[in-house]
């Protein structure tokens, strides 16, 4: 029995280009900060990768700061800009990933930050007027604004350029976590107008453990990691040339093929939604029906517990996610769905299917075959 891997938003298989770039570098020696020939060779790999990433994402090479992944980049943006700006107010979307939410809350608990969550509508969108009103309450004291490009759970795309413009009316730096967006949506750092943008390798076909924070000129967060002074003194730590080379190869390939991939995934995704609706007529699609990630389908199954659905689907070879946060593996109702105004039981009964570059019609067929019986069984088990 093959499996249908429908959890690409958690991590997606590495692209052949990335594997090739990484394996080519793994056998090489050289610390990119060393001054000798081996160091220069490694340095060249890193700098070429930086140019590749910048070129694919509409940024200048000098705006790319490599990190060990999306979580680190988000932490650097939120904490670093808060400390650099020396003002108390931190405005973030209510449906942000925990890599943004938790650093902000931590600043609130330990560093006197005044964290405000920006309300979202029923589809998970932050409206520019909401941000404008929040800033207007005390514009001088806002350190930063952070709103994700596209939501990792329900897939809703945010009006990033408009939001960034609102922040800029008061000269406030705007950060966006674009981890889910790159490779699926057109993303241009320069055109969007954002000041800081998080990108992660393994969500777009690169390796796990590498990512970047794109920082516009003049946006200088206080470092979170101190040490050898790499990456303009903003992010110390030996540059991981093999991972960075693979990351760059993946970004380049994912962005180059983006339009074609997005079209193909959206068609598969629409078919998945259609067939799940046929099998389970009372299913609810969460998130914006149109302005969403092409690979995302997020459902609530009334009367079911997401955990039970996940387990039953897993046993039938369908791998998906409840998209909820874990503490000791205990599912909490999703803060995203709660912020969208859903009740706890609907939030608990939800599942995310996320498609990616290896998804095929056979994956959709597998879901369509099993979903009715799985939902019926989970319903019998009830809401626990």
């Amino acid at each position: 029995m093959g499996t249908a891997y429908l959890d690409h938003a958690a991590t997606t298989p590495m692209l052949p280009e990335a594997i090739e770039a990484m394996t080519a570098q793994l056998a090489e020696v050289g610390n990119p900060s060393s001054l000798h020939a081996a160091g220069r060779r490694a340095r060249r790999v890193v700098e070429e990768s930086r140019e590749t990433v910048a070129g694919a994402l509409g940024a200048r090479p000098s705006e790319v700061v490599f990190t060990a992944g999306g979580t680190e980049a988000d932490n650097l943006a939120i904490k670093g800009l808060f400390w650099a700006r020396r003002r108390p107010r931190v405005l973030i979307g209510a449906v942000e990933h925990h890599a943004v939410l938790d650093p902000a809350r931590w600043l609130g608990d330990h560093h006197g930050a005044d964290v405000e969550l920006l309300d979202v509508d029923g589809q998970g969108r932050v409206h520019p007027e909401t941000l404008r009103a929040a800033i207007a309450r005390d514009p001088e004291n806002v350190a930063l604004v952070s709103v994700m490009w596209a939501n990792n759970e329900v897939g809703t795309v945010q009006p990033i350029a408009e939001l960034a413009e609102v922040a800029h009316e008061h000269g406030i730096p705007f950060h966006t976590d674009a981890v889910q967006a790159v490779g699926q949506l057109p993303v241009s750092f320069a055109e969007s107008g954002v000041d800081a943008m998080t990108v992660s390798g393994h969500k777009l076909g690169g390796p796990i453990g590498v990512g970047a924070l794109l920082l516009a000129r003049g946006v200088d967060p206080v470092p979170v990691l101190h040490g050898g002074g790499q990456e303009r003194d903003i992010r110390s730590g030996t540059l991981a040339a093999p991972a960075i080379a693979a990351f760059a190869a993946a970004v380049e390939a994912a962005v180059r093929r983006r339009a074609e991939t997005a079209e193909r995934l959206a068609a598969l995704r629409d078919d998945l939604i259609h067939r799940v609706r046929q099998a389970v007529p009372d299913v609810i699609l969460n998130g914006d029906p149109v302005l969403r990630l092409p690979g995302n389908a997020h459902f609530s199954f009334p009367g079911c517990e997401g955990d039970a659905l996940l387990m039953l689907l897993d046993a039938k070879g369908v791998e998906c996610s409840t998209g909820s946060a874990c503490s000791a593996g205990v599912a909490q109702p999703s803060h995203v769905l709660l912020a969208m105004g859903q009740d706890v039981s609907r939030a608990r009964g939800s599942l995310r299917f996320s498609l990616g570059h290896t998804s095929t019609e056979a994956d959709v067929d597998r879901v369509a075959e099993v979903i009715a019986v799985v939902v019926e069984r989970a319903r019998r088990a009830g809401l626990g």
Binding site: D307, G329, R377, G384
Partner: protein, 361 residues
Amino acid sequence: MGPTPRLRVLAAMSGGVDSAVAAARIADAGHDVTGIHLALSANPQSYRTGARGCCTLEDARDARRAADVIGIPFYIWDMAERFHRDVVEDFVSEYAAGRTPNPCLRCNEKIKFEAVLDRALALGFDAVATGHHARLEGGVLRRSVDSGKDQSYVLGVLTREQLAHAIFPLGGSTKAEVRAEAARRGLTVADKPDSHDICFIADGDTRAFLADRLGAEEGPVVDALTGRVVGTHQGAFGFTVGQRKGLNIDRPAPDGRPRYVLSIEPVSNTVTVGPRGSLEVRSVVGERPVWNGPAPEPREPIACAVQLRAHGEVYGCRAQMSGGELHIELGSPATGVAAGQGAVLYDGDVVIGSATIASAS
């Protein structure tokens, strides 16, 4: 016996050695096994504190690791609400009513073989397996071959229906054999210490746990022989019938003998103490009887044996149903018989029924 059918089995994995070996044995027997760890606390502690709890993150991780080694799927089931309501709150209210509950027994009855079993059956599983040391053959519950580790007592409350969907793979092995097998299988929990205390009281201080929830209130300690107040206590709920230590008696007894708790009266917050002889009981009345043995509920008095607390002595007895209650006449006097504990009836090593002790005299 012919080849056993392939069952879909849910293995409850606490993170300890017993449940890990139990799951491994079921998988080896060719069944389709899924491991689950029950999250029983809404706020799991991040590491072990004093006594080993069953709701720590470390235990969840150990259980997951064991499932990896065995090669079975593994999930965490959140049973915190049910556990709090049916076990923890029940524990507190039982003490408040002057009884001495056994939370492990309650957990088996209400959580593992009710909440978990019901959900498992609804989800398409055939049975729930645990690492309890007891034998279960043809629906008949028997003591483990390792008498020191036998847990048939805390399973004695299960109904025939519950037992019909239970699997206890360890009853034929000693604890030492289970540990050796765990090591052989590469299960890293092989030398993990046994759990002893009540899992939801991490520091083992039951009295402080109860005082937090019921509030400390000073009350008298009365000697049954003289009727005089011989000391004070900080809450009758902190005592158990038969208890000798920690009585805080400030004068010697008239007969110069040690004093034991004879009874607890929650309304007047009085603890009555007396000599060991006054503790002896010969008859026990049990409520909520369960007949789960090979024979139907007896119409006539039957000769059997009874165990009145976990790891307690076994007494020969005559048991009889009357007005929905179980009446037990002991062959020899027992001490330390506390209301709220289970009375489990045995025929040799076979469990034939049980009841919750309501009173003893």
